[in-house]
Symmetry: C2
Subunit: 386 residues, 2 copies
Amino acid sequence: MLAPVRGFAKAEYYMRTQLAQTKMAKRGLSALLLTTEPEVRYYTGFLTRFWESPTRPWFVVVPAIGAPIAIIPSIGAHLMGQTWIKDIRTWQAPDYDNDGITLLAQTLREVTPSNGKIGLADEMESHVHMPLASLRAIEALLDGRVLIGDGGITRDLRLVKSEAEITKIHTAAKIADRAFNRVSEIACEGEPLSKIFRNFQALCLNEGADWVPYLAGAADRGGYNDVISPATDAPLLQGDVLMLDTGLIWDGYFCDFDRNFSVNKPNEVTQTAHSKLIDATQAAFELAKPGALISELFHTMNKVINPRGDTMEAGRLGHGLGMQLTEWPSIIARDHTVLFEGMVLTLEPSVNLMNGKILVHEENIVIRENGAEYLSEPQNDKMRIV
Amino acid sequence: MLAPVRGFAKAEYYMRTQLAQTKMAKRGLSALLLTTEPEVRYYTGFLTRFWESPTRPWFVVVPAIGAPIAIIPSIGAHLMGQTWIKDIRTWQAPDYDNDGITLLAQTLREVTPSNGKIGLADEMESHVHMPLASLRAIEALLDGRVLIGDGGITRDLRLVKSEAEITKIHTAAKIADRAFNRVSEIACEGEPLSKIFRNFQALCLNEGADWVPYLAGAADRGGYNDVISPATDAPLLQGDVLMLDTGLIWDGYFCDFDRNFSVNKPNEVTQTAHSKLIDATQAAFELAKPGALISELFHTMNKVINPRGDTMEAGRLGHGLGMQLTEWPSIIARDHTVLFEGMVLTLEPSVNLMNGKILVHEENIVIRENGAEYLSEPQNDKMRIV
């Protein structure tokens, strides 16, 4: 099998930009202002782990017509110069007196009319990735132009993935599948969870992950208390359920799914709960066709796992997936998004056990013309054993 | 040697909170609103990789008196319940209609007088980690109270590290030292850079890193073009300089330094440049005592590496280090911060080579009563060879 190709054809960025510009015109926006890593990368292809440093702000402006303009610290000029972006304006950051403010405001004034509306992501799952004082300073330099919410333009575009994007997510998922299939090499009774976490990440890298931004998990008697805690040094015990949930990256795209491992044979309650999770996932998978609603996926899973309508700490039963570990939308009753070919989702049901513990299962799927396809290799109802 | 202890004594969080409250009183602030991962963790101890998911906002309010209050999604209640925080208010997120807005506004109204000023970080290196529309909605519910910049209260507290914090950074640095000492196991002529990146991260994990949020680097003839690009599949060639710069984490604290490796013997220009970097680092190290200024560190290094005053793409010659890969302050001419016992810094000089390439070196230090101590094992002037 050939290794998948890194990067995207220039045409893909061009198309993303044109689609955004069509939506901008409909909303009366003269430009988009992008400030976060996934937004900047979506339109430019600028891929770097340097966002881990919070010091320097990075800006991209999508004008009404033409290619995006990068307004970035000079340290990023070489890398941005390797993308399809030609108009790259830099300053030597950090500049305590004016950290890109004048340069960005100038650019915005240059590409928009004096009464222009400039859209920026301001809704759920977004934030403005610059100091609030800088945002206010920029607003004051716009000479009549206003910054307003973009109405979810970029979020909605990112919701439907191209074939090239799906291939990257699939590649990430296959790497995680192979790592999960090797967990018995690193986990057994007596092994500290912290060491299992370290070794599982090394397995992911060994199987081809570029990096492993996310690993959560837990291990406790028959189930666990939460799914977001870091690992402790406590050893795995007989009867524990070990859960590992990884979001690893290949070429800038995530997978996000988990596997549960019983330390020796699971008890009947735990095995039954696990089977219920698989049933719920499979029920949603079968329903997940173009035209179905996210809320229908929710109700289908919820009927299986939660017939009494208990409180659900997790708040949702899955979500979008792609350039980020979790993306719009959330699989909740309130979300009536219509499924569309090319959407990538996680199905993530959880059950409350009698002892206050929980069990969570997760798979990754893509919506195709005639139904869903698994991107993760679907787990069967028998719990894995280490 | 005993393994260092995870977590902090409750007294440390108590002290951080009290110091903040003293500063708040001086500035006339009735509360602090915290929204980002390091801010929330600094006062509460809430440590999770779940911030990788952008969906749910997390809020902590530091009142004028008493312990912080957490206003968080219910999925985080169990983990927050294991910290010293007792007042934990949750909602089932994501809630499309009201994602914590009412709950947070209620809390802010409850703990502040009706004309209260509520501080939030709004300056360089910060951002407000919630949707802008949510921020505006919360402001509208404050009944006369105002959200204003916190004047850098949390930033300034974080600048000076406790012994326990220094131990964690030192532990991270020692892990990276051991991994760097094993690079010859994974890097040699012909090996693709992408594979070296994967294997180096596995070495870091193998040596004890909890996770590896940051790895950058490059490999090119005699130097490299930038230090933030992801790895390509191009093989290492004779005469290349391989640079690996890692920010790995132990118990929530980063180290951040790099090492340069020549593929076989370096040419004289490269070796001379490397020696200059070591000289610059050592000169700054010797100057780094309580009472010295950050700007003095800058000028001391700059005189060695950049006698002609060329443009410096990186924009700075080092920075603070701790809960984040890079923290306040930046080592630039404009920064006149006075060094203080307990500050942890990176010294990161870079040189422009004749061929347009650069070479960067980095060490981590802590300021002690009588001078600096290295937290990374200082590199000597001879380049490492693979």
